[in-house]
């Protein structure tokens, strides 16, 4: 066991340029993978910010009594998906409107009486902010008496929903591409470095080393490469994001569990890549020699030189 670890350590330093290349390529793969994850996280964040702004305004009929409003408010609050309600009186509405239009609107001067209705602002809980649920909720509210009209920006919601769907779609495609690419690139790089030492593997086999003894150093090397690669790429990602966040507010970096996942992903890549490569390499060496594998020999027709 000591020897195996020794081997792995030696292998690491002996093949400096190969180690360098492998670590470099793992770093790049994990880095791009991490960029993608961080990008997705930021995208989700932006979507959340956008969805936060979704609200439903229930315009009330004029001349409702205070009790009627209270009842309506309570009725709305019981609907599935409604998180919070807030009453906005006619006066308040006008004030808000004036504030919004403050500077440069010739509209303002046109009001002779207050044309704005009182309303109830309904906050919908996150999970119900899809066009379908919003429509459903608004239809339920419409049935209550005292409701004049409901505005929840239905066209805008549809737009947002479409954009979110598109983003998710692109994100998933990108995710698949990037994951597969990382795996392909890392596996094959490791494969090339293992195959470059094919002769060494053959000799070890012939001298009586067990498969474990031959394979373990490669596997450990692979894991260490994966670990280094992912640590370096995490560090790079971290500095990149600190840099970016000085330029752009609201950028979020990977949280710690995602970071751990990335490091883990790197190690798994290194492990699986080296494990498969060295296994495959040994099998190929043996097969070339045997032509027929152990225990699966058939009788050939004799022929003479």
């Amino acid at each position: 066991m000591i020897y195996i670890i020794q081997e792995a350590v030696k292998g690491f330093f002996k093949n400096k340029s190969m180690s360098f290349i492998t670590i470099g390529i793992i770093t790049i793969s994990i880095f791009i993978f991490g960029l993608f994850i961080a990008g997705t996280a930021n995208m989700l964040n932006v979507i959340k910010l956008a969805e936060d702004r979704i609200e439903m305004i229930v315009y009330l009929k004029d001349n409702l009594k205070a009790e009627e409003i209270k009842l309506l408010d309570e009725q709305i609050a019981t609907i599935l998906g409604v998180q919070q309600t807030e009453f906005v009186s006619k006066e308040q509405a006008l004030e808000n409107f004036k504030k919004e239009m403050s500077e440069n609107s010739p509209l303002l001067s046109a009001f002779e009486s207050n044309p704005l209705p009182a309303s109830i602002k309904v906050t919908v809980s996150m999970a119900y902010k899809t066009p379908e649920y919003l429509r459903e909720i608004s239809e339920k509210i419409k049935l209550f008496s005292g409701v004049e009209d409901i505005d929840y920006g239905s066209e805008w919601i549809d737009d947002l929903d479409r954009i979110i769907k598109i983003l998710f779609f692109i994100d998933i495609i990108l995710g698949i591409i990037i994951t597969l690419s990382s795996v392909f690139v890392v596996f094959n790089t490791i494969r090339l470095t293992v195959y470059a030492r094919r002769e060494q593997i053959d000799i070890m086999d012939l001298v009586g080393a067990t498969e474990t003894y031959i394979e373990l150093p490669y596997i450990i090397e692979g894991i260490v490469h994966g670990l280094f690669g992912s640590l370096i790429s995490t560090a790079l990602l971290y500095s990149l994001f600190s840099f970016i966040s000085t330029k752009i507010p609201n950028v979020i970096f990977l949280n710690s569990s995602l970071t751990v996942f990335m490091v883990f992903f790197g190690m798994i890549l290194g492990f699986t890549g080296s494990f498969m490569s060295v296994k495959q390499c040994m099998n190929e060496i043996r097969e070339v020699k045997r032509l027929e594998p152990v225990g699966k020999r058939k009788t050939l027709p004799r022929s003479v030189k």
């Binding site: 020897y3 002996k14 067990t210």
Partner: protein, 230 residues
């Protein structure tokens, strides 16, 4: 101890490298294997440490049978067999010391033992002064000596030597042969392929002759193919 029973070996389906070989090697026996280039000497040897398997027939080595041996038993078998490969097969990325020590490391021997035995083996082939060199820094003969050291260090029950003196000078050849005899007296069987028939004449031991993959009387080979010296 080693038994070939009706062994045939075909390469590429139609090249017969071994043709109905029946052979047995006893404990502690010294055997020479002779035959022309391409007669099948290396092929026969590779079958003993099960790098190759017979196309037909079976071989028994130290209780393992080619028909029933499992993949994970092969390393165990190989640890008991010392092999001097015709093309040396040194690990290119290790120095001489590590190349020799390697054969013991795989058996899980203790560190202090490994060190002692490795230095002894290197001294036996007169290569101690080169223990820190890498194979590419050695001359052909020196590489061969390192290969020999690696094969004898395990104290195998049989030593397979595929032309162990092909690249060594006459005095070195004598040294190596003496080394092999000494190992042999300690109970290790030896199977040595060689083209240097003068060696055989100077020593005792059984001679196995191969021609075109068939066992033949070795005297035929001496007579027909090297008449001059016979």
């Amino acid at each position: 101890m080693i038994n070939f029973k009706n062994v045939y070996k075909y390469y590429k389906k139609d090249w017969v490298a071994l043709n109905n070989v029946n052979l047995s090697i006893e404990k502690g026996q010294f055997n020479y294997l002779i035959g022309r280039s391409g007669a099948g000497k290396s092929t026969l040897m590779k079958m003993i440490y099960m790098e190759l398997f017979p196309t037909e027939g079976e071989i028994e080595v130290a209780g393992y049978n080619t028909k029933s041996i499992k993949q994970n038993e092969i390393p165990m078998l190989r640890r008991k067999i010392g092999v001097i490969f015709q093309d040396f097969k040194l690990l290119k990325d290790r120095n001489v010391y590590d190349n020799v020590a390697f054969a013991l490391q795989v058996t899980g021997e203790k560190y202090s033992n490994i060190r002692k035995k490795t230095l002894e083996a290197l001294a036996a082939v007169k290569m101690s002064h080169k223990r820190n060199s890498f194979p590419y820094q050695l001359s052909g003969g020196e590489q061969q000596k390192v290969a020999i050291a690696r094969a004898i260090i395990k104290e195998p029950f049989i030593l397979i030597a595929d032309e162990p003196t092909g690249n060594v000078d006459p005095e070195g050849t004598r040294d190596i042969l003496e080394l092999l005899f000494e190992i042999n007296t300690r109970g290790t069987a030896i199977l040595m392929a060689t083209h240097d028939y003068s060696l055989i004449k100077k020593s005792v031991g059984k001679v196995i002759g191969l021609r075109d993959g068939k066992l033949v009387n070795p005297d035929d080979i001496f007579k027909m193919e090297f008449g001059g010296q016979q």
